[in-house]
């Protein structure tokens, strides 16, 4: 394959993303649609800004539901952006028509996770790899066949004649992924989005595919967006890493900085969770509880706060956190004790609606005072639970209690050394506000 001509005059930035939002609208009930009521939306990508420099490997790392795949697809125009801008080689591409985009796709290609599902089983390897050339009307048939053979050799499927007439089902998993990569690079793209390219492969094969991708990057001057949940492979592969959680970049910076000195509590948790084949390692026990919440109803404030071991007064405590607290307690209790407490608390479904204050009715025949006393007992059993930092006051009144939390403050991106992190722990204003709130709570406690 020919090298791309060096063009130092061009900008150093290949892709520039500013304020990008990709929302999926939810389909409500039939009635909702009939009366034109919005069923809400999932903020899959929620205000992301980043730059992808020519020749770099940027890792988008997050768990399922983090929005990493949607972000990759929005850049490729496979999903349309709701708001914000994406510039590719200086050209705005979010408003392009499908026709205009098609020409651009020569410049940007994707490698999917599952090589078995990415290859049409009825096409030969030769046909599969030639297909993009046909679609874009490149060369004569003979020229195309030569190009296919060259590309197969480049990805290590050598000699190419041995593979041209085979079908995907004749190949091993690693060989299939090589075919997928050959198909992606045959148009000589500038950008390659690789969405979990090795996670379906056996351990003994992963390194080979990563090495191939690094080789291709050097040879063909490629820029990679490497989408993965695996911080271990990303460490080898990426120049910079962006950690995503519920559609937002919570931390971004050079790889060395992210691994040597992670700032965000979520990044720290992800790093600790990776299984380590060391003879002395054991299962980490101090990991965040729970899972990535439903992106259609994200937590208030910082969306990581319900799982965060460091969360405090300003992070956005609310109704659903109380439900989680009670449920975690009840899971470990004897049945009689749970039933007694549940009778006092009554119906918890009102806690489903996210809000920083609530009027909570006691169970049938119970009083607000009993409820407040129970909550006090819960607090005494585990006074260090982060939840209590967020509680402003609990007031019993007749058959209900009123619970108020401190108002949520959404975190903002802040520079912390070489990385940018979205966490109140690094925000002096938020820390000062938390201090003020602690004082406020103390004086409220003194009054009651």
């Amino acid at each position: 394959m020919q090298r791309k001509p060096d063009a130092p005059a061009r900008s150093d930035v290949l892709v520039s993303i500013r304020g990008l939002k990709t929302y999926y609208s939810l389909r409500g009930s039939f009635l909702d649609r009939l009366v034109g009521r919005e069923a809400g939306s999932v903020k899959a990508v929620d205000d992301v800004s980043l730059e992808l420099r020519r020749g770099e490997v940027l890792g988008l790392v997050g768990e399922s539901g983090s929005g990493k795949t949607t972000l990759g697809r929005t850049i490729l125009g496979l999903v349309s952006a709701t708001e914000g801008s994406i510039e590719f080689e200086g050209r705005e591409i979010t408003k392009l028509s499908e026709r205009e985009f098609r020409a651009l796709r020569r410049e940007m290609q994707i490698v999917f996770q599952d090589p078995h599902a990415s290859l049409n089983p009825a096409m030969t390897i030769g046909q599969l790899v030639e297909h993009p050339l046909q679609i874009h009307g490149v060369g004569t048939r003979t020229e195309r066949r030569i190009r296919v053979a060259e590309t197969l050799s480049t990805v290590g499927l050598d000699p190419p004649e041995q593979f041209m007439d085979k079908y995907a089902s004749d190949l091993s998993g690693g060989q299939k992924q090589r075919v997928v990569i050959a198909r992606a690079i045959i148009l000589n793209p500038a950008l390659l989005v690789a969405d979990e390219p090795v996670s379906m492969l056996d351990m003994s094969v992963r390194a080979k595919i990563l090495e191939l991708m690094l080789y291709l990057k050097r040879e063909l001057n490629l820029t990679y967006l490497y989408i993965t949940h695996d911080l271990a492979t990303a460490k080898f592969f990426c120049d910079r890493i962006a950690i995503l959680y519920l559609g937002r970049i919570v931390e971004i910076g050079p790889s060395e900085a992210i691994y040597a000195d992670p700032k965000h509590p979520y990044t720290k948790a992800l790093l600790r969770a990776i299984p380590d084949p060391d003879p002395h390692s054991s299962v980490p026990r101090d990991l965040p509880p729970g899972e990535v919440p439903d992106a259609a109803r994200p937590p208030l404030g910082c969306t990581f706060h319900p799982r965060c071991p460091m969360a405090f007064e300003v992070c956005g405590w609310e109704t659903r956190d109380l439900r989680d607290l009670l449920e975690a307690r009840w899971a470990l209790q004897a049945q009689e004790r749970y039933e007694a407490e549940q009778a006092v608390m009554g119906d918890l479904t009102t806690l489903e609606a996210p809000a920083p204050r609530i009027r909570l009715h006691a169970g049938r025949g119970r009083t607000g005072a009993e409820m407040a006393a129970l909550l006090e007992a819960v607090r005494d059993d585990a006074p260090d639970a982060r939840f209590w930092t967020g509680v402003k006051r609990i007031v019993a009144d007749g058959d209900h209690v009123e619970i108020e939390w401190f108002d949520p403050i959404p975190p903002r991106p802040l520079e912390a050394g070489p990385t940018t992190v979205e966490c109140h722990l690094f925000d002096d204003d938020a820390l000062a506000e938390a201090e003020r709130r602690r004082g406020q709570r103390a004086s409220l406690d003194a009054v009651s």
């Binding site: 002395h280 899971a331 049945q335």
Partner: protein, 342 residues
């Protein structure tokens, strides 16, 4: 730590008939699982580890043939009739799968899953007893009692897997076989589930056969490890010992090619795992083995016991008297082309 094995596997073979020939997925494997022990069974895809797990439980698909012995409570499960096996499965031998959603009935509440399981195997329980047992087991898995009457779709992937584990444990089995139980889960949730599984000995007294392709999981969660290659156990021993000083070249290479945060450079094993219809002769790893000797391509290796209660199937560990003259010379091979690789 253990007092006699819960299950003893002796010379177990599991074969599948296919149009291309007979697949020898498990080829004369012997293995003991001690009481309350967590044994990791590790290997690459197609090495026969899932077939071994299923063979132990007598849960092989149609077209599979097994022979040898799986001894449980003095009885051989191989060849036992289906009805008897069904009675053992659940109260004695449990299984958890990779995809929790596909194993829960979407039309049944969680409560009904537990009711059905308990009524089937322990008749005569009252409603209250069923509820208490179920809630207690679910609680230990971190599922709150408030969610007992919900349907499977109302739970996240990690919670469904916790429910599946609880559903297996509510019958207090002696042995649980978990086949890639965390593969479809996110990394933090995976660690949560592994924590639960490695505690089973303490919380339920259950032994666990944990089948996985991830050596990191074995290192963290298992007492012992058996490394499987091409239908055979290449090496078995205390997990800490094996990871600190692997005796079989395959174990060593697999460890080196595992990418973790500590990995200093990328490494891979040349070639690809063999198909099990027509595996290489003698030692099945010899075509890929960097330490291969002349004897490795010529004679089947003989199982050797090492000092630290470890066994290994590799000529490097002898027995010297069985190696013919010149057998320890390095094996000369052609370079493995990338085309032959995975």
């Amino acid at each position: 730590m253990s007092s006699g094995p819960v299950v003893s596997v002796r010379d177990l073979r599991v074969y599948y008939g296919t149009p291309r020939g007979t697949v020898r997925a498990v080829d004369r494997v012997s293995l003991d699982i001690g009481e309350g022990e967590v044994l990791g069974l590790v290997g690459e895809s197609g090495c026969g580890k899932s077939s071994l797990g299923r063979g132990i439980l007598g849960l092989l698909p149609e077209g599979a043939v097994s022979d040898g012995e799986v001894l449980y409570g003095g009885r051989n499960l191989v060849g036992m009739n289906a009805k008897e096996l069904r009675r053992l499965r659940g109260p004695d031998l449990g299984l958890i799968f990779q995809e929790p959603m596909t194993r829960l009935n979407p039309l049944m509440r969680i409560e009904d899953h537990f009711r059905e399981t308990l009524e089937q195997h322990e008749s005569g329980l009252t409603d209250r007893e069923i509820r208490t047992r179920s809630l207690e087991t679910l609680g230990q898995m971190g599922i709150p009692p408030t969610r007992f009457r919900q349907y499977p779709h109302e739970f996240s992937g990690g919670m469904r897997q916790r429910i599946m584990i609880a559903l297996a444990l509510v019958l207090r089995p002696k042995l649980l076989v978990a086949d890639e139980p965390t593969t479809s889960l996110d990394v933090i949730v995976e660690a949560q589930i592994l924590g639960i599984l490695s505690d089973l000995r303490r919380t339920f007294g259950t032994a666990l056969l944990l089948i996985t392709h991830n050596l990191g999981i074995v290192a963290e969660a298992c007492d012992r490890v058996a490394v499987m290659y091409a239908g055979k156990i290449a090496e078995e021993g205390n997990a800490g010992d094996v990871f600190a000083d692997p005796a079989h070249p395959y174990t060593r290479e697999l460890l080196r090619s595992t990418i973790s945060l500590e990995t200093a450079e990328l490494h891979s094993i040349p070639g690809a795992p063999p198909n099990l219809i027509d595996p290489p002769p003698a030692c099945r790893f010899h075509p890929r083995c960097p330490s291969a000797m002349v004897v490795c391509a010529d004679r089947d290796p003989v199982e050797q016991m090492l000092d630290d209660d470890r066994r290994v199937l590799c000529w490097l560990h002898g027995p010297a008297e069985r190696i013919p003259e010149g057998g320890t010379e390095p094996l000369e091979r052609e370079e493995i082309a990338v085309a032959e690789e995975a």
